[in-house]
Amino acid sequence: MFLSPLAWVILAVIQVILAWSFFSYVDEFFRIQSDLTTMKNAPGVTDLVASPLFEVASIVLLMVTPLLTMRLISEEKRNKTIGLLLSSPVSITEIVLGKYLGLLFFISVILIMLLMMPLSLAMGTELDLIKLFSGFFGLFLMLAAFGAAGLYMSSLTDNPMIAAISTFGLLLLLWMININSASATGSTSALTYLSIHTHFTAMLRGIMNTRDIAYFLLFISGFIVLTIRQLETQRLQS
């Protein structure tokens, strides 16, 4: 993937956008710093810079992940290179996992670049590292989930554009599925549970809940199994 310009362009664009928002959050922090010193139990730099930064990153990456995943399998089908993979001594499970791990690697690169920014503040101040890493871990899990959904969408079609759009649609829907449940009570808890956003914000606040982690892991493995099933079926029917 690093052989193609796409990877570099995406990295650069994400980095510029996130660096800009990082910069503005730091700026904001400086402006209100004097007020903070007078407050009791004031929010620290992690709450005021890192968490909002991760929040912005999650939205940017929600839009970028479909672009990363769209070509994973659909391009192989379109160029017929899938034949090469299917006729070589690797199983479909290995192909899918390989694609997914490659994607995870790239996502990790993006996230590590992102993490460097708040970490650089450690030179001048004290950070709530636990909270920072909880948020980082949450972001990683969420992107891994995005990626799994994108991988599945990519296996459904041989047109990368369709894969990208449907991935984006699915993710956005899951993101805001509980949009009206904030006001309502009780009855919509199932929708709230389905929402990616709910689970992510919990981790962003530094709450590592097995429930949230389980949600993401189920999400990921579910879509990977679906992808494998999908490719097997295509081999049977094509």
């Binding site: 160029n79 290179t81 090469l84 299917l86 070589s88 001594p89 690797v90 081999r235 049977l236």
Partner: protein, 324 residues
Amino acid sequence: MSSLITVNNLTRHYGDFCAVNDISFELATGDILGFLGPNGAGKSSTMQMLTGNLAPTLGEIFIDGIDLLDEPREAKSALGYLPENPPLYRELTVSEYLHYCARLHRLPKQAAGKACASAIERCGLGEVRQRLIKNLSKGYQQRVGIAQAILHSPPVIILDEPTVGLDPIQIIEIRRLIKELGSNHGIILCTHILPEVQVVCNRVQIINRGELVYNADLKDMLGDQQNRFEVSVTANLSQQELDSHDIFTSTEKTGEFSFIVESDAGADELTAYIVQQQWGLTRFTTVKDTLEDMFISLTTGDNNTGDDNSDTDLLEQTSDDVAA
């Protein structure tokens, strides 16, 4: 010698449509099998099933003695496949691509390097090894595809129309390469180019409407016709005049100065006889039934039964030719 590929009762349905119906064949080391058939006859489906791209509805496939359906990984590692459209990653260079393929076939790093170097050399890709595949001409891309198929020196090589888009010199080179590979591998060559099969292959299979209609050695197929000769002379002879000579069992004028004769006499005796007639002999060759005649008669045969008379006439003519 154990066979490299054994196919038993292979069948494939697409919904109600039966693309491949109950095909069985074998391939031994040293065989170059020409796999022929008109469009939509089930050639590609068969190839895809042999390479694990498509699951068969019924039947068994053994590659190098290993069941493709039970142990796909082991069976596929004995396989090199060039599909109709070479599976190339356009944004890689030739050597990057070949290294990737080598690793995909689980060659260890060192062996992969060696395998790539030898494949590059064998397919004449030395000059372009550092160029992006998308910038190469069709002929070179085709050669990269072939290089990919022979890279890990698999016992079985399946080539689907390998010489498409190549220039005449490259075609000759690739045919030579295929023949060379054929000596210690088993090769299946899928093609529309019938002369190519005649030059390269030693066995021929013809598939029509999903059924195997012909399977034989090329020698058997074309070898038993040593009694037909095409003769060119300078004298203009009429059909009656030709018929009057008893030495010919049958005659047929093909042009003003040429005719085809059949005779039980050998070529020596026949030429001596013609020279004796002082017809001014200019050319004398044995006529072999071409694969083409065979192909047409086998693949159009069952299509035309029940059609109107003109077609049937044509059909009879071709089958006569073959029978003769």
